[in-house]
Symmetry: C2
Amino acid sequence: MRSTITCRSIGVLVTTLLAGLAVPGRAVAQADPLPSWNDGAAKQAIVRFVKATTDQSSATFVPPDARIAAFDQDGTTWVEHPMYTQVVYCLERVAVLARARPELRHIEPFKTVLSGNRAAMARLTMKDLQTILAATLTGMTVGDFKADVGQWLASAKHPRWDRLYTELTYEPMLEVMRYLRDNGFKTYIVTGGGQDFVRVFSDTVYEIPREQVVGTMWGTTYGYAKDGKPVLTKEPKLLLNDDNAGKPQGIYLMVGRRPVAAFGNSVGDRQMLEYTGGGDGARLMMLVLHDDAQREYAYGPAQGLPVTKVGTFPQTLYDEAQKKDWTIISMKNDWKRIFPFE
Amino acid sequence: MRSTITCRSIGVLVTTLLAGLAVPGRAVAQADPLPSWNDGAAKQAIVRFVKATTDQSSATFVPPDARIAAFDQDGTTWVEHPMYTQVVYCLERVAVLARARPELRHIEPFKTVLSGNRAAMARLTMKDLQTILAATLTGMTVGDFKADVGQWLASAKHPRWDRLYTELTYEPMLEVMRYLRDNGFKTYIVTGGGQDFVRVFSDTVYEIPREQVVGTMWGTTYGYAKDGKPVLTKEPKLLLNDDNAGKPQGIYLMVGRRPVAAFGNSVGDRQMLEYTGGGDGARLMMLVLHDDAQREYAYGPAQGLPVTKVGTFPQTLYDEAQKKDWTIISMKNDWKRIFPFE
């Protein structure tokens, strides 16, 4: 008898081992893969999409290698207000830069940034901002940049929550990423932010390896350090602005496949969702609407929400989403919980 | 007794299942992973490198996510003589192009290409070639391009072997790719050729998914087809020339990690090997020397081999390889067999 039981135990072990193998073609049964989501149209759309694309008997089955899901970052997977995290980094870097190059204290737009005068800073133009980005994101080796961003992220805190920026990710979106990966999807970050900025933390924060980060791309030059070792230095040469039409372009460049699912929250994600929707079969296009001033922020101006320059969600985008069957995620109504630390 | 035997059988099954799981941290025991290689310094260098990087007890152990191996394509993983396959494609496309735009028959360099005069064609300059590449590789949607390349590859044949170009891969290099992957390495093609040209067949020919192809990158524009569907159109806007210093730049852009192994065959691979060698720990840098006119081609001009403009391997590169402990692969002496069809 005893050996029979042992056999059965081993049989169970074999079954368990087989079940544990990553079989991308099969939906993994689990209690509730999206516990931070309220039951509603958004949650249902996600679950329905995963079933439609992973059930082999479904007419809309998607083979594993085509299961590409693209996530915008700022405002979609983490907080972007009152200002994009990378821009905060760049503004804070200006002080560091001015220590090495004191003449910047007398040159605009650096002078304004160093003044700390928030009203004056709010009046900086897009051109000013680009000057600041170029000055603070280029000129160093890629290794020094990575180390500096890592160091900054380990201590800089968001003023409202007094938490690290990397803690301010949205738990419901982390759940969606995991749920998709558990079902054989390859998840990508597709961000207007700097590609190598986001790569510094994509693995630890999103469990997304750096090669699956598509972002705004700057060129590098190849040269040699004093010890003769080869180094890459970041250059102020924009290769691709991964925003608006740049998002499908960046996806083509980095992935070479059209996504079947895309998540965004602002006008900069419009073309990515449209491009995703342009393919055949089951598709999932979702937009996060920030309508929760209490727990996070409220901005649009869609649906009468306050106007913003950071993560603009115009009414035209809202109307297009309705027309094209893109799903709106209401932060207020669809999300039980916003942050992992809650 | 019978049930005991069954238990043992299941035990063996469990062991087999466990052994079959992809455990990237562990070298997979097998008879000879490189049967097309003669025993010699090159083969030994590969085996030694894999052991050094995958043995957890080794001081030079490399964690799985850092196991990046980069392979040049033309002349390293498939035949590049008498002319790069993609250039043959472009030259043959000129005739197709001239049917749609007859005026090209009277404009250089198209006139020369259409003449079929090989002596005149051999005199075309690099600028002429770039004009031809721009004309034949841009202006179409990315979908049309993919379809056209696929169609061409399915019938165009290499004049010497009367075989499809995709059959002219080097079996020993396919074995190295498989051997590395079996040991948890992620293999990339890093080619001076067009990124989206190579992506058309990388999966079927090399078992390398298209997102692991780094190549020369051209921009696209985002627009709409007549039916209103979004399309990307290839543009004559060079984003990155993935050759020479462009190879480490392309790797930084597409992968964001320094490779630990790199394989090339010409001066265009020099910086990629140098960059790979610039990291700490165990490294493998290899250069294929085409010294086998009988079975393939012989060209250098290193080691007194014939001079060539296609896949130049100068003596300075050979000397640098010797000095830096990069391993030379002699096609004649190291490879038992060249092609899979042999």
